[in-house]
């Protein structure tokens, strides 16, 4: 089977799974909103909590599966080895929180609800956790499509929204930007600066309250 046909096979799989992916994302978002509602109501006026959800689009899912193969090609002799269900993030929810001190509170609340989900923190190049991430099944909704939720300091999360689409879904003329050592260093600098801002902000709040 030519590689193009494997991609077509995966497109067909995607659209057969789509109703189930949507159900998972709705369920996950609703449960997370419910679980964090009391925290939302207790926020100080300078604090924020935003819940965002997304269904991974078809071509991103295929590219993500392809990126997991060495050489970034599918084995045309073994089409049965490939399924989009191996991706953990077809249905994803991100909770953005400011300031950072509220992250622990939200994480603790959600861990109680999603006990048994597998932690898989997002780490920087040095191995330091930048955000918390969990993967699992929404019981009673789907035993096939996994959900993923992230608990992310807001400034870093908003930076990622811009950075990911510029670096990993770039214009063809910017090919290679995602693997550029210089851009990786600049990204690390930004994440570090945002972290320092949040830490400094929290210290200021603590000292003045």
């Amino acid at each position: 089977m030519p590689e193009r046909m494997i991609e077509d096979m995966l497109r067909a799989e995607y659209f057969s799974l789509l109703p189930e992916i949507r159900k998972v994302v709705w369920q996950l978002e609703t449960e997370i909103r419910y679980e964090t509602l009391s925290i939302l109501h207790s926020l100080n006026h300078y604090e924020q909590l935003i819940v965002k959800s997304r269904v991974k689009d078809c071509e991103s899912a295929i590219r993500a599966l392809q990126r997991r193969q060495e050489g970034r090609v599918f084995n045309s002799d073994r089409p049965e080895e490939y399924s989009l269900l191996t991706l953990p993030d077809l249905a994803g929810v991100r909770v953005l929180i400011f300031p950072r001190s509220r992250v622990v509170e939200v994480d603790g609340r959600l861990k109680g609800r999603f006990a048994g989900w597998t932690p898989d923190p997002v780490r920087d190049e040095g191995g330091i956790a930048l955000a918390l991430k969990y993967i699992g099944y929404c019981s009673g909704v789907s035993g096939k499509v996994r959900g993923e939720y992230q608990v992310v300091p807001m400034l870093v999360g908003l930076f990622w929204e811009v950075e990911h689409s510029a670096m990993y879904k770039p214009d063809p003329s910017l090919r290679g930007i995602g693997t550029s050592t210089q851009m990786k260093m600049l990204k690390a600098d930004v994440e570090d600066a945002l972290k320092r801002f949040e830490t400094g902000f929290e210290s200021f709040v603590t000292e003045t309250s």
């Binding site: 060495e70 050489g71 970034r72 599918f74 084995n75 045309s76 290679g176 693997t179």
Partner: protein, 76 residues
């Protein structure tokens, strides 16, 4: 740095496949192989004789025939 060693040896980065390739030598190193192996092994592999007409792939997992065939098609 490993990247500099490869560039100096005439390898160019293929962004579509995440491979360092040398069309003259017909050799290709996967990004995973380059990341995981020590510099000494990389230098040793660069110095290895090529396969003549066929491509030689340095992957962490030996690429099966279907992948080899597809890569040879796209690399030319």
């Amino acid at each position: 740095m490993k990247r500099d060693i490869l560039l100096k040896a005439g390898y160019r980065y293929n962004f579509d496949r995440d491979l360092y390739i040398n069309r003259t030598e017909k050799k290709a190193f996967s990004l995973e192989f380059v990341d995981d192996k020590p510099e000494e092994e990389l230098v040793r592999r660069i110095q290895e004789a090529s396969n003549g007409n066929g491509w030689k792939f340095y992957f962490n997992s030996d690429p099966p025939e279907g992948i080899r065939r597809e890569l040879e098609r796209v690399l030319g």
